[in-house]
């Protein structure tokens, strides 16, 4: 499979001198297009920090990062407009859906292509097609506050997908859901990853879904350890349920 995102030896140090926090000490990771990987690790291990670096909202200290064959970071940003990078190459899914409360479902999704300069009608068409694929098309005209939690999360997934980004970063996307819904979301992410050829990284604590990942990265003290299929996890038992 084609490469989605690759990071090599990524280092992030917060602060300097005595108060420096070495959040990431050389992280290596590679996710192919169409693949969903899990990222787990104890509290304070650097998961959110890694996600922020991948999402280009904080600057790493050193290392290298590529999306497809584009070099994004190589001991410094290699793209001028990080905002456009986030808009076009990275989709975000959060723990809470964080939909824009004053836009209806369609426009919540259509906003991204609109921000990228597409005409409203075209953007809405893309949004509706995606809502269809995610099975929430019947709620297309509703306001976010009128949706159930699961529906909201699916709209959020549609929003992350709509610009067809090569990478999607998901931060605890199943935390508020019960296990049936949580597993459904993971299924959905797998389907979407294949359908839209997207590399999806899912940060999670969620014991219910950890066994479903074919590949897991376990991050400890700022260093990633790649682990095989979830079933073969070591003695920490993170994958056993």
């Amino acid at each position: 499979m084609a490469e989605g995102i690759r990071i090599e030896n990524l280092v992030k140090t917060y602060g300097q001198g005595d108060t420096a926090v070495h959040a990431l000490r050389g992280v290596n990771m590679s996710v192919a297009k169409g693949e969903v990987v899990g990222l787990i690790g104890p509290s304070g291990s650097g998961k959110s920090t890694l996600l922020k670096c991948l999402g280009a909202v904080i600057e790493p200290t050193s290392g290298r990062m590529t999306i497809g064959d584009r070099v994004i970071y190589d001991d410094g940003w290699k793209v001028g407009d990080l905002r456009a990078l986030r808009r076009d190459l990275i989709g975000f899914i959060f723990q809470a859906p964080y939909l824009i409360p004053f836009l209806d479902v369609t426009d919540n999704v259509a906003l991204l292509p609109m921000l990228a300069g597409k005409p409203n009608a075209e953007a809405r068409k893309e949004a509706r097609d995606l809502l269809e694929a995610l099975d929430v098309a019947h709620r297309a005209a509703a306001m976010p506050s009128q949706l159930s939690g699961g529906e909201q999360q699916r709209v959020a997934i549609a929003r992350a997908l709509v610009n067809r980004p090569p990478v999607i970063l998901a931060d605890e996307p199943t935390a508020p859901l019960d296990s049936v819904r949580a597993l459904a979301v993971v299924d959905l992410l797998n389907t979407m990853a294949r359908q839209f050829e997207t590399a999806i990284i899912v940060v999670t604590h969620d014991e219910k879904i950890i066994p479903t990942f074919r590949r897991l990265y376990n991050i400890r003290d700022g260093v990633t350890v790649e682990e095989g299929p979830a079933g073969s996890l070591g003695s920490d038992g993170a994958g056993k349920s």
Partner: protein
């Protein structure tokens, strides 16, 4: 691209409109204050216009007759009338007083004017109803704002007058409606002493060897007669011939008579720049305070609205919304608030203007100025919220 500001406003329109209405009432008060000021200027101008005069001849070195007391002998008018370039000249008296009418006190400015011939300066230039004063005595023409009706009897000092005509927009510079009497009647009202004072004056004359020389009683009688009647006026109003230059005529009068002469422009300066100046400053202060209060309200509301959306703003930034778009959204909301406020304010000011006791003149130009001021204030007030929004870190959307 859709209008984020518009969608947000529609989403929470109730709160938005309520705030706009509150702001609007404040703006209405502001517009009314400006209207009160314009009304004062307009009253002053109406006073000058309606006097029909080109020149005001007053007691030497006074700012009379409206801004300071001035007293001239009415005979001053005669030589003036004979001067080259002078068309007409007529004495007038002005006296602001309270008149009891149907159990209420009405504050009026009693004007004594030459009524013997129509068209003399000082007379009301037009009547809404009734007729001019034709008898030398005991007839009056009133401004409608006095509330008097034709046929009413009103008592001014010791005499009773019948209202024979009504006029309008005839007010003093303070906004008091005018009551016109013949010059003789008005002089009596203004300068004549009451019975007690006359008795005392007579006693004084009688006991003074100079005014009541023994063996010559005619002297005291003459003195008493001279003291009892008054031939003073407050000013002589002059119109100049169409061909003559008012400034030149004024200069000529100044040269030959020991009086002070004001032209229309000078009179306007006295009334508007000197008399109204203090009120103008007072109103100016109010306008400044109201502007600050409005700005504070808009700033507070827009700021709270923005702080309430911090998470959404972080998400918008994370998914690639430009700072410019977010600042634009907040600015548009502030301007929208201003727009509602201005519309409500304009309607409110127009609605309640007639209920003010004094003339409130809402000039379209002031509304236009007010509109731009409101927009500028709203834009300025949104800066705080914009600053807060731009400081939001997109990383906040990802959380810890």
């Amino acid at each position: 691209m859709i209008s984020l500001a518009g969608r947000d406003i529609l989403h929470g329109w109730g709160k938005f409109v309520l705030t706009g209405v509150g702001l609007g009432l404040l703006i209405g008060v502001t517009l009314s204050m400006a209207g009160v000021y314009r009304g004062m200027i307009d009253d002053a101008q109406a006073l000058l216009d309606n006097s029909g005069a080109d020149l005001w001849v007053v007691q030497k070195d006074t700012l009379g007759p409206y801004a300071e007391p001035s007293s001239l002998n009415e005979d001053t008018e005669r030589p003036i009338r004979a001067m080259a370039g002078v068309d007409r000249a007529a004495g007038v008296t002005y006296l602001t007083m309270q008149i009891a009418h149907r159990g209420k006190d009405v504050r009026v400015m009693v004007v004594g004017a030459e009524v013997t011939q129509p068209g003399e300066p000082g007379q009301p230039p037009y009547l809404m109803a009734g007729r001019r004063i034709v008898q030398g005595h005991y007839e009056a023409v009133a401004d409608v704002k006095t509330g008097f009706a034709i046929g009413d009897q009103v008592k001014v000092r010791r005499n009773t007058y019948r209202i024979v005509g009504l006029t309008s927009r005839m007010v003093s510079s303070g906004g008091d409606p005018m009551l016109f009497l013949s010059l003789k009647d008005a002089q009596e009202a203004q300068f004549e002493k009451d019975a007690d004072a006359i008795v005392r004056q007579r006693a004084r004359t009688a006991s003074s060897p100079a005014l009541n020389p023994p063996g010559n009683p005619a002297v005291a009688e003459a003195v008493n007669a001279a003291q009892a009647s008054s031939t003073n006026v407050n000013a002589v109003l002059v119109t100049v011939a169409p061909s003559a230059d008012a400034d030149a005529v004024a200069a000529a009068i100044r040269r030959w008579q020991r009086v002070t002469v004001y032209t229309r422009a000078q009179m306007e300066e006295i009334l508007v720049d000197k008399m109204i100046a203090n009120s103008a400053r007072q109103i100016g202060m109010f306008l400044v305070i109201l502007a600050i209060v409005s700005a504070a309200i808009v700033a507070f509301i827009i700021y709270t609205m923005t702080i309430g959306k911090i998470r959404e703003i972080a998400v918008l930034k994370l998914i690639g919304t430009r700072n410019r778009t977010i600042a634009g959204m907040i600015l548009q909301q502030a301007l929208g608030l201003g727009l509602i406020g201005f519309a409500v304010g304009k309607i409110a000011a127009t609605f309640w203007a007639p209920f003010f006791p004094k003339y409130v003149l809402l000039l379209p130009a002031d509304s236009v100025r007010g509109f731009f001021a409101v927009m500028a204030i709203c834009a300025l007030a949104s800066l705080l919220a914009i600053h807060a929004a731009l400081k939001v870190d997109p990383a906040e959307a990802i959380g810890g």
